[in-house]
């Protein structure tokens, strides 16, 4: 191997320029589901901590969170020892919707029963998966808000216009469960927009389907 000749250097640059130009044009003509904003808007994992509650919750049922992995970001951060309230799922025959519990940590994970309780209470669901996955099936009434697609801001505006969520109102976010982090990324984004009662349905859509809960198909109108 010898050092690149001047013509080779020019060709190296030309190949890169061609790639950049093709990327510009293709992204310009792409539909919303495959378009990307040139400036990345996704939060890159950084060691962040869950904000501790300002005051001890009055809720009687407490669940220890210490020793669990931080739900904010992907960095392996141990959560400091503290107590956070958990939602108690309503009795199946309950007719009145449970009052939203007071948010004590801005982002926390939600179990399967709690997600159902939230659904029955009419809390909004945000689907952080890709829009193609959303079209294949989603929690009934959920909003398609794929964190990786360029029209996320528009979709969030549509969601806010439809549901008028207050900053402290509960919002349930889900993706594919397991090690899917899209819901966490979306929660980070909403947190930055001032929402502080963000509930991540940990087991996500596969769990919802496995338990035979209400679903719907089709793209977001």
């Amino acid at each position: 191997m010898s050092a690149p000749r001047p013509t080779t250097l020019v060709r190296l640059l030309a190949l890169a320029a061609l790639a950049g130009l093709a990327a510009l044009v293709s992204n310009w003509v792409a539909g919303p589901a495959r378009r990307l904003a040139w400036r990345g808007s996704v939060v890159v994992p950084v060691p962040t901590m869950i904000v501790p509650p300002a005051r001890e919750p009055a809720a009687p049922e407490l669940a220890p969170l210490a020793g669990r992995e931080s739900i904010v970001g992907k960095a392996r951060v141990e959560v400091p020892r503290m107590q956070v309230p958990t939602l108690t799922p309503p009795a199946p025959a309950a007719s009145a919707a449970p009052a939203p519990p007071e948010a004590t940590v801005p982002i926390r994970e939600l179990g399967s029963a709690e997600a159902l309780a939230g659904f029955q209470a009419g809390w909004p669901f945000l689907d952080a998966r890709r829009s193609a996955e959303f079209a294949e099936g989603h929690v009934r009434g959920a909003f398609c808000t794929s964190v990786w697609e360029a029209d996320l801001e528009d979709r969030l505006i549509d969601f806010k216009a439809a549901r008028h969520p207050g900053p402290g109102d509960p919002i349930i976010i889900y993706c594919s469960g397991g090690d899917c982090h899209d819901s966490h990324l979306l929660a980070e984004k909403l947190l930055a927009q001032g929402y502080f009662h963000l509930l991540i349905y940990r087991d996500g859509y596969p769990d919802w389907v496995a338990l035979g809960r209400p679903t719907a198909k089709g793209a977001q109108p």
Partner: protein
């Protein structure tokens, strides 16, 4: 060892590299957000670089793949492919070293896997990339003395067009 620099071997290496990079580029071109997600999972790149990389890298792979297959600007393409393979190897090695399982994302998104499966796949991918790097070295080696330079683009390709 002159057989290692045989023009026909170089042609074969070029075609293999070209086809691999074409195969890698097409699924990523079809789904840039999916590729951005794959890059993000490596946890090695700053936020501002994710989307530009996800948009431009597949096109670079495509043009390099085409250049290698058709023997046009193949030296520059081989240098790019070598640089890309080196960076892929580095990214995989860093994540293997910290036991952080990621989906390769090399040929688009893949089916969900366990963490152990991902780590095993990463080792195989690293080996594959190292093998492809050897092909790049072969392509960039000067032709064996006494071999006549290729006459056609798809021929021996020992003279860059």
């Amino acid at each position: 060892m002159n057989w290692l620099r045989h023009p026909r071997l170089r042609l074969l290496a070029r075609l293999i590299l070209g086809l691999v990079f074409l195969g890698a580029a097409l699924p990523k071109l079809a789904d840039p957000p999916g590729f951005a997600k794959a890059i993000w999972a490596y946890e090695l790149f700053p936020a501002w670089s994710l989307n530009p990389l996800a948009l431009a890298l597949p096109w670079l792979e495509l043009f390099c793949g085409l250049a290698l297959c058709f023997g046009l600007w193949w030296r520059a393409a081989a240098l790019w492919v070598g640089a890309l393979l080196l960076s892929f190897c580095l990214a995989l090695t860093l994540n293997l070293a910290r036991q952080h399982p990621v989906d390769c994302g090399c040929f688009g998104t893949s089916a969900p896997k366990t963490q152990a499966q991902r780590l095993a796949d990463m080792r195989w991918t690293l080996l594959r990339d190292l093998g492809l790097l050897l092909l790049v070295v072969q392509v960039l080696l000067p032709a064996a003395p006494g071999r006549s330079p290729g006459r056609s683009r798809l021929g021996s390709g020992s003279r860059e067009s």
